[in-house]
Amino acid sequence: MRWFWIDRFTEMVSGQKATAIKTVSLSEEHLHDHFLGIPTMPNSLILEGMAQTAGMLVSEYNDFRERVILAKVPKLIYHNRAVPGDTLIYRATLEAIEESGARATVTSHVGDCLQAEAEILFAHIDRETAHRPLFRSSDFGDLLRSLQLFNVGQKADGSKLTFPEHIE
């Protein structure tokens, strides 16, 4: 099982905002274990998808060189259930970023309907005390390609984002 809770990016503007989608399918195993007979996308995994969308936005800001981890969720509201056939649209906005971490707001919509909203805090793990990278470079490169981040990514000036040379 892969811990991917977004399917692909549809927008990425460096240092500002990112949009990713997650299509919910009846064939996903976890939908059936949540409430018997009522297939439902678990809210915890929706949060994970929102965090992955915002986390990539945070990580891209420093050219994917920082080790970014989800540190805190100060606000999280779910308005509706997500069910098979829904396409969840996660929109993340980078509110603040500094040396030690970042803060983002994220919404989840189904069509025009607000399904969930969150504030998420990310921490940059201290390089001095970190002994190993979070991912193997080639694995992380495959992840970025799978999510099609560089197909849609733009720098703040509108020019195209390029795949980082330091990642395989």
Binding site: P74, K75, A96, G101, A123
Partner: protein, 126 residues
């Protein structure tokens, strides 16, 4: 320039949102760690909220000088030495460190920072 009351109200709002505490728990004397249960990551959350709420920039280490607390020059056997205390006072004129001075154990430092200290700091920035 905001009044002392306005500063306190905004600081209180930031702490309520960041720490999930009730309004009436946030008193000037309350300590952030001991009374309000702040953990290390909460300080980053609080800093972001204060920056946004007051439109100020809080450089890393200014509100919470971790570089002094981890320096071998200023810390021995888990305690801050006299030079370290002087440095802390210089860097944190907004904080009342008198209680901490009585037993300057590094681990106790975070527990000594109060809501009033934070309000004093913000007042010095706006």
């Amino acid at each position: 320039m905001p009044s002392k009351e306005e500063v306190f109200e905004k600081v209180r709002d930031a702490l309520v949102d960041a720490l999930g505490v009730e309004d009436d728990e946030v008193t000037p004397e309350a300590t952030l760690v001991g009374d309000l249960g702040a953990e290390s990551i909460d300080f980053l959350d609080i800093v972001f909220r204060l920056e946004k709420g007051f439109d100020i920039k809080i450089p890393r280490g200014e509100l919470f000088p971790e570089d002094i607390l981890t320096s071998t020059e200023y810390v021995a056997d888990g305690k801050i030495n006299a030079e370290g205390l002087e440095e802390l006072k210089k860097r944190m004129p907004f904080a009342d460190l008198s209680k901490f001075e009585e037993n300057p154990v590094v681990q106790e430092f975070a527990t000594s920072l109060t809501v009033q200290d934070m309000c004093n700091y913000v007042e010095s920035k706006v």
